[in-house]
């Protein structure tokens, strides 16, 4: 790691003022640090200053009210995974949180950091490779090794978004509170993430002087079934090869509404409206679930090494749907 200086946050106002004018990378935020330190150690980022957000206890914790649940951005993944209300009413989120990395990382990593984490692409993470994300001309996955890369929404950068939490939050119709120099704003988690065709350098719309402060999830209806399915290379902890966050409102075997968001297959959490459309209003059986999977990957454009993800994603969706009605 290069040297940097370290400053404790005293207020959100102080943080946004330290961040403003610095552009990307000069001044960075540290919460759990599990993603940031890996970037610093590989010299992918070389900030002059880190601002420690953990001195802002108001950004930590889980609370519920009539509208739903609020999760402070500093809340650890472990606390989310173990929270009884989240386990019962937002099962997809508890399951996604449980699937993140290892116990040691979940004890430290935060939900805010999970949403803002950088891609794991081996070209991006190699300090000697100057790919499009780092200002170069090429996405090396296109002609290089692409086993873990995007099958949807890739052009011109074929990273996949590594978050398990984000697909779950989008499927739950969650919003996020962001603070900047002009004050607070709230946006849908779905609108937070961007594709490389809009901005090849970043994975979301957060500005250099903004902070993710809180996640807000609306109540789920009593007839909601939700789940998170994640395919990994082995049984061991890892990022998703493909994952499905599904939130279904069911009346018996009839699907009244379906939210299906995919992880590990695109540069952002990928909402499959195609799969949702197949399911909405239908009596769900094996054939319908398979049709949903097929439709979801119609537009997939695999690279040299990742065609397996097409079949995998298709079957994962079908399996998630069948589990929801069983």
């Amino acid at each position: 790691m290069d040297k940097f200086s370290y400053v404790n946050a005293t207020s959100l106002k102080q943080v946004t003022s330290l961040l403003s004018d610095s552009g990307w990378g000069e001044v960075m935020l540290i919460a759990g640090g599990t993603d940031l330190l890996s970037e610093l150690k590989e010299y992918i980022e070389t900030p002059k200053t880190l601002i420690n957000l953990k001195t802002l206890p108001e950004m930590e914790g889980i609370s519920s009210d009539a509208a739903g649940i609020k999760i402070g951005a500093l809340t650890t993944i472990a606390d989310i995974a173990m929270h009884p209300t989240i386990q019962h009413h937002y099962t997809v989120l508890a399951q996604a949180a449980t699937s993140v990395a290892t116990p040691q990382i979940r004890n430290v990593g935060t939900i805010g950091g999970n949403l803002c984490q950088r891609p794991r692409c081996w070209y991006y993470r190699d300090e000697t490779v100057n790919c499009i994300k780092k200002g170069g001309d090429l996405c090396y996955a296109v002609d290089g090794l692409s086993k873990y890369h995007a099958i949807l929404g890739g052009d011109p950068v074929y990273i996949v978004h590594p978050s398990d939490i984000a697909p779950a939050l989008i499927a739950l119709n969650a919003s996020m509170k962001i603070t900047g120099p002009e004050g607070e704003k709230t946006m849908k988690v779905e609108e937070f993430f961007t594709l490389p065709s809009d901005n090849p350098f970043r994975e979301n719309v957060l500005q250099p002087n903004e902070i993710v402060v809180e996640i807000q999830i609306p109540n789920t209806k009593p007839n909601t079934k939700s789940l998170y399915l994640k395919a990994r290379e082995k049984g061991a902890p890892d990022f998703a090869l493909a994952s499905v966050a599904g939130v279904f409102e069911m009346a018996g075997r009839t699907c009244q509404s379906a939210n299906i968001v995919l992880g590990g297959v695109a540069p952002k959490p990928w909402r499959s409206t195609e799969a949702e459309n197949v399911l909405t209003g239908k009596m769900v059986d094996k054939a319908v679930s398979m049709k949903a999977g097929e439709e979801a990957v119609q537009k997939a454009r695999p690279l040299n090494d990742n065609e397996y993800k097409v079949t995998l994603t298709q079957n994962l969706i079908s399996r998630a749907v069948m589990m929801a009605v069983s």
């Binding site: 370290y6 599990t34 150690k41 116990p103 040691q104 990382i105 430290v108």
Partner: protein
């Protein structure tokens, strides 16, 4: 959260005095990024923020307070293994191992406030105000912890390099859940890797330890 906890959280350990002292030792060059010293208001704020490139901090390791001067980039693992405290003594807690240095192998697992974490992925600055327990702090003097006894009984190691991390993770698991199922043991230890492949013996050891705790 009590006021005291909040104070600890807010990192009061980096006092203005220790910051100035730190500068005095000549180990500090830049204290505040120049980019943020724009305009009077910001400059004034930056002064009270006390951005430090290094600081004298206190860490509570195995129930003893260690005072040590660290650069901001120093990891907790570096302090444990290679740190020299302000009295000139080596911290010398080499039980936590430096193996992958990227939060993947678990060899550096320590307890922070009772929870297992990777010491390689935590800045020493971030460990202030926390109770840190390394594998050296698991036994009670010469009396080994039941997990350690069980590792010996089941021969739950081959080369032994990953063992300290596994012991710490096992203790953390059993503190949370004293009668884990095999599936829960596997999940609890999923952040540790053994390249010799002694997993079945490790799982047996944890099961035995759980019966004795």
């Amino acid at each position: 959260m009590s006021e005291k906890d909040k104070e600890q959280k807010q990192g009061k350990n980096i006092s203005r005095r220790s910051f100035i002292k730190g500068v005095g030792t000549g180990t500090v060059a830049a204290t505040v990024a120049p980019a943020i010293l724009v305009g009077d208001e910001k400059a004034a704020e930056a002064q009270t923020d006390e951005a430090v490139a290094s600081a004298k901090i206190q860490l509570n390791i195995n129930e003893e307070v260690t005072e040590i001067e660290v650069e901001a980039r120093t990891t907790l693992l570096s302090v444990l293994r290679d740190g020299i405290d302000t009295t000139g003594n080596n911290v010398d807690l080499t039980g936590a191992k430096l193996i992958c240095d990227k939060g993947e192998c678990g060899g550096c697992t320590v307890l922070v406030d009772g929870k297992p974490v990777y010491a390689c992925m935590m800045l020493a600055m971030d460990a202030q105000g926390k109770q840190i327990t390394t594998v050296e702090g698991i036994a009670n003097g010469d009396d080994l912890h039941p997990v350690q006894e069980a590792f010996i009984k089941h021969d739950a190691l081959m080369c032994g390099f990953c063992t300290p991390g596994f012991v710490v993770s096992s203790v953390a698991l059993l503190n949370e859940n004293n009668k884990p199922t095999i599936a829960e043991i596997k999940e609890g230890l999923s952040g540790n890797t053994c390249r010799c492949g002694t997993y079945p013996f490790i799982f047996d050891a944890v099961e035995t330890a759980s019966q004795e705790m």
